[in-house]
Amino acid sequence: MPDLHDVFSVAHAATLGGPGWLRQRRLAAAEAFGTAELPSAGEEEWRYSPVAGLHLEAYLPAPPTGGNGPAPGGALPGSLRDRLGALSALVVTCDGQLVSTEITPAAEAAGLTLRPLGEEPEPVAALGGVLGEPSDVFGLMNDAFCSAPLLLEIPRGARLAEPVAIVNVLSAASLAVFPRLSVVVGDGAEAQVVNVLVSGEVEVFAAPVAELDVGPSARLQYLNLQELGPRATGIDQTAATVASQGHLAIGLAAVGGSYARCRVDCTLSGRGATGDMSAMYFGDRDQVLDFRTFQNHSAPDTNSNLLFVGAVEDRARSIYSGLIRVGAEARGTDAQQTNRILKLSEDVWADSVPNLEIENNDVRCAHASSVGPIDEDHRFYLESRGVPPDVAERLIVEGFFEEVRGRLPVQAVAAGFDEMVRAKIGPDR
C-alpha cells in the first residue's frame, strides 16, 4: 500500500488548476495535510467512529476538472431527478467534476448565481468564510483537494420559488472526491437548497464540505441527502452561520454508506437568529452512521431546535453526539436537542451523547435522548387489534419517524426520501 501522504500530496493538489488564489489556497492546505495525521477514535470528536479502518491510501484523488478523468456520462439517476421535482437550478457534478449547471430564467431574473470558483479570477471570501480553519483533517483535505468548488449566491431580498439542487454523483471505483459548496443568502432573501451525495455499488470515498452563510432576516432551508451505496465512505461537514433575525433549517437524511458521518456546526451569530436541525436516518446490514452536531449560540435571543431520529437494523451502528454551546453573551437563548434511536435487532449498537456548555444563566436549554427497541406495549396494542406482527412493526417504525418527517426542510424533496426509508423498513412479510 502506498503512503497516504504520497497519494494525497502537494503534487496532486498542484494538478487541480484554477486561478492563482485557489491554487495557492489548495497548496497551503495540502502542505498542512502533509504533516497531519488521521484522527484516532481516542479523540472525543471521533469517539465511537471506526476511523482507524478507513485506509484512505487505497483511494485515488479525483483528477482535475477537464483532465483525463472518467467521462461524466448521464450521471444523474432518473429516479433522483424525478424526486427532486421542480427546481430553480440544478448543478450536477460527477467524480469531482462539474458536469452541468442549469438555471431557470425566473431564478436568474431573481438574481440567483451559480459560480464555479475555478473560474473566478479574484479571491472569493465565501470559500472558507464560514468554516474558517478546517475543523478536522478531512476539512483540510477538502481545502487541499476540492476539484470543483462552487458558490451559490442568493442576493439581498431575492426569493426563489423552487429549490436549488446540487447533486454530487460518485461513479468511478476507488475514487476520493471532495465536493465543496458555499451558499450565501443575502439580507432578507429566501431559498431552499438540496445537496445530494449519491453513489452506486462502487467503493468510493467522499469528504464534502458545505458552508452556509445566512444573512440578516434571510431564510434558508437546506436539505442534505446522503444516498451513498453500500461500499461508500462519506465524511461530510456542514458549517453554518446565521445573522440577526435570520432563519436556517438544516435537514439531514441518510440511508447509505458503509461508514457515513455528518458533522454540522451551526453558529447563531446575530441577535434573534434561529438555527434548527433535523435528521432522519436508517442504517442496516453493517452500516455505521455517525452524527456530530454543534449548536453554537453566540448572540442574545437565539433559538435552536434539534431533532435527530434514526433506526438501526441487522448489525448496523449509529452514533449521535451533540453539543449545545451557549456563550456568555447569548442571554435569552432557547436551545433544544432531542435524539431518538430505535434498535430493530439484537446485534445493533447505538450511542447517544448529548452535551451542554452554558456560560449564561438567562437561557432555556434542554436535551433528551432515547435509545431502545420497539416498545413491547406498542407492539402488543397493535397486535391485540388484529394487526399481524410484521405489519405492526412496520407501522410502529414508520410512526417513529412521523414527527421528524414533518420537520425536514424542503418537504417536497424530503417526502421522496421517505420512500427510501420505507423501502429499508421493507415490505410486510
Partner: protein, 257 residues
C-alpha cells in the same frame, strides 16, 4: 355460535401468583360482568386472555370456539375473534387509526376498500361521539382518558370481534359517553358479540345489561349470579365476599395468639 370458556386459569405476574383458578363461560350474545375490588386480578385476567407480555399462565385453559387461546400469539387471538378494550389504551406515536383497522381487517380476510373503511369509521365515530378530528391523530396520542375509551369502543364496532373483554371501559367516561358506548356494545351483542366486562363499579351495569355477574376476590371468582348480584353488591360492598380462606385464617390466628 361463539363461546369463550375459561377453566381453572392460574397466572403469575412478576413471579407473584395473581389468578388462583378462574372459571367463566361467555356465550355469543351474552354480557358477563366480572366485578371486584382493586387488585383482585381483574385486569390480569383481561391481559392474560389477550396474551400480553409479562404474565405467566401456570394452570388452566381458555378456549375460544374450541381453540386454545393460550397457545396463540396476541395477533392470532385477535384474529380468532378476541378483542381487548384496554383500561389504559396505549399511545402509539405516529400510527394512524385507519392504518391499524385496515391492516387488521385485511389480516382477517375482510379487506374493505379504503373509502368504505373511512365511511364506516366516520359513521361509528359519530354514533360514539368521537370527534372526526381525533380520527386523524396517532392512536391514543394526546387524547383524554374518555376519548381513549370511546376510541376502544370505536375499534370494537369497526372490527366486530366474537368476544370482547372490556377492561373498565366505564372509567373516564362521562354519563353521556358511557350511555353511547353501552348502547353500541349492546347492539353488537344482538349481532352475536359475547362480552366479558370487567369493572369495579356497578355504574356500568346501570347502562349495560349483564346476563351474569361474577364477583372476583383475590384471584378467584367467589360468587356468580344474575343481575341481582350486582344490586346486592351495591348494598353490601365487597367485604361480605372478602373472607380469607380457612388456611389463611389459621395463619392469622397463629400470629395473633
Amino acid at each position: 355460535m361463539s363461546e369463550l370458556i375459561v377453566e381453572g386459569l392460574r397466572a403469575n405476574a412478576a413471579g407473584e401468583a395473581i389468578l388462583h383458578g378462574v372459571d367463566v363461560q361467555v356465550a355469543a350474545g351474552e354480557v358477563h360482568a366480572v366485578m371486584g375490588p382493586n387488585g383482585c386480578g381483574k385486569s390480569t385476567l383481561a391481559h392474560v386472555l389477550a396474551g400480553r407480555h409479562g404474565y405467566t399462565v401456570t394452570a388452566g385453559r381458555a378456549l375460544l370456539d374450541g381453540r386454545d387461546l393460550l397457545a396463540l400469539s396476541p395477533f392470532e387471538r385477535a384474529k380468532a375473534g378476541l378483542f381487548l378494550a384496554m383500561q389504559y389504551p396505549t399511545e402509539v406515536p405516529g400510527v394512524n387509526l385507519l392504518d391499524v383497522l385496515g391492516a387488521s381487517l385485511r389480516a382477517a380476510g375482510r379487506a374493505p376498500a379504503a373509502d368504505d373503511l373511512g365511511a364506516v369509521l366516520s359513521s361509528e365515530a359519530e354514533r360514539l361521539g368521537v370527534p372526526a378530528a381525533l380520527l386523524e391523530r396517532a392512536v391514543n396520542v394526546d387524547l383524554s382518558g374518555g376519548e381513549q375509551k370511546r376510541g376502544e369502543a370505536l375499534q370494537l364496532a369497526v372490527l366486530r370481534p366474537r368476544i370482547a373483554v372490556l377492561d373498565e371501559i366505564d372509567s373516564g367516561l362521562d354519563v353521556d359517553a358511557l350511555r353511547a358506548v353501552a348502547r353500541r356494545i349492546e347492539e353488537a351483542t344482538t349481532e352475536g358479540l359475547g362480552v366479558l366486562a370487567i369493572t369495579h363499579y356497578t355504574r356500568l351495569l346501570g347502562v349495560l345489561r349483564a346476563d351474569r355477574v361474577h364477583i372476583m376476590i383475590r384471584g378467584r371468582i367467589v360468587a356468580s349470579g344474575g343481575p341481582e348480584l350486582a344490586d346486592e353488591l351495591e348494598r353490601t360492598g365487597y367485604e361480605r365476599w372478602d373472607r380469607p380462606a380457612p388456611a389463611e385464617v389459621a395463619v392469622k390466628l397463629g400470629r395473633s395468639f
